[in-house]
Amino acid sequence: MLNPDTVKADFPLLGRTVRGGKPLVYLDSGATAQKPQQVIDAELRFYAETNAAVHRGAHQIAEEATEAYETSRDVVAEFVGADAAEIVWTKNATEALNLVAYGFLNASLAAAAAPGSAAAAAVTPEAIQRYALVPGDEIVLSEAEHHANLVPWQQLAQKTGATLRWISVTAQGRLDPETFSVIGERTRILAITHASNVTGAITDVEALVARARKVGAYVVLDACQTAAHMPVDLHALDVDFAAFSAHKMVGPTGVGALYGRHALLEDLPPFLTGGSMVEVVTMETTSFMPPPQRFEAGTQMVAQVVGFAAAVKYLRELGMDQVAAHESQMTQRLLEGISLVPGVRVLGPEDATDRLAVVAFEVDGVHPHDVGQVLDDAGVAVRVGHHCAQPIHRRLGVHASARASAGVYTTAADVDAFIAGLHEVRRFFAAPSDTGGH
């Protein structure tokens, strides 16, 4: 069994104090995770020993850097059940999702251009065949999406005349299977989160993929919240594209990845263009590299890529089954603890089944920002606001919420400190007529 105290000792930042000497209780891993020394060292070592531009230059250091960059791709690919050639480095998940959306857009623009024009020839016939959207085509997502997996699709729909449709969320914060039927004959894309960053609810990907397959729609999975918290096997999930960010996986900021099936990446037009992604460039035209290089324009974040590989190695050594089991215990402890604090409502499933340790909640009569402030004063770091997911908040009838989210290093003591903090929030903001008021 994973020992969170041992794990925690690997994360230097978690040893610090805040707000006048209080030990930090970090419950904001859903926003970004802290980094173990192993990741920090990997990045440091890369700069100290191996730093060079990759896929360019004939010198030894460039060879070593390229080797480190590409080996990292193998490591990350294996971690998510993909082949290395199916992994594209991006800045973060947001960029990965935009990369796919812009691929569809570029194909749609070419398809809509006058036959024989330069605009029509800007992408390959295969790209148009696969990716061109026309008015009346439908893009399906859910009300639970993070803005990163909503706004790019909304933009794509606006620009192509496609229609955006969505799966609803139940009052318990789960995708409502009754509304899966919005996936229909005209659906071209299903863009769905693997787990909500508000309710922690894990999506039944299998059921959705089955429906998408029936109508020939591509499935884009936002695996941001799941990748570091449970075993994720993209081949087994049978999705077409997937996005995740290293910074939520105890890895560095500045790097994320797009997964795309071989054949799909092969036909996808590039998003960003420039150096490193081209074969032959003339003043008139350019031919592009095969994937993944086609999607990695410009000088890459090599040190961060290396750090990303160190992060997944770290998680792999802990064992993702162990990580998931530990975090499930934390979920239970969080939910049980909260249920004993009067006036606190969880936004999302109230039991730990098919649920991550991401717990958004509302405190009766106290605004989330004030909740966060009093918790912060006790050294407890949570997130407040709408967590880049306004529609699901609207659906659940609140403007904003506070959210506690755990990670591999979260201990029972952390959860208990948070629960104690919640009691303090209640005490502090109790109306003067209440007993024990401020």
Partner: protein, 152 residues
């Protein structure tokens, strides 16, 4: 713990957050502003009506939702600027912005006194994330006054 929190959440602030002055929709108005704090989702719609000469704030009403800091700040602001000349309201707004920029240091006594209950927000300026909350109403007022004067 409560020391830092009691300094931040002065009783004046908690009181104003509970019993809010000026909350409600104004139907006759010359200027309106909608402000949002995208980090925490707080929002306010504020409307202002000037006297016929366009010199004095005759009525002020706001609706919206937000944290205790933003709500209390709106309420205190309402108390301070209602029935005041526009120029005075703008001057108070400038003082309040200075207070927020002071990172918790007190302003000189003349300005602090002018700010009355709003001086209770001194401690808010120690928390960068909360400054926006406190300023939300004042931003709306400044914006709405520009409109109202343009129309007067």
């Amino acid at each position: 713990m409560a020391d830092a929190m009691e300094q931040l959440y002065q009783q004046v602030i908690l009181d104003h957050a509970r019993v809010r002055q000026g909350e409600g929709e104004l139907t006759e108005y010359g200027g309106e502003s909608f402000q949002i704090n995208p980090t925490c989702g707080d929002q306010v719609t504020l409307r202002v009506r000037l006297d016929p000469k366009g010199e004095r704030i005759q009525a002020l009403g706001w609706t919206g939702q937000g944290c205790s800091i933003s709500q209390a700040s709106l309420s205190v602001m309402h108390e301070l600027v209602l029935d005041q000349p526009v120029a005075r309201a703008e001057e108070l707004g400038a003082h309040f912005r200075e207070l927020m920029a002071a990172r918790g240091k007190e302003l000189d006594s003349a300005r602090l006194e002018a700010l009355e209950d709003a001086s209770a927000f001194t401690g808010v300026a120690r928390y960068p994330a909360r400054i926006k909350c406190a300023l939300l109403g004042w931003m709306a007022l400044r914006d709405a006054l520009v409109q109202a004067r343009g129309r007067a």
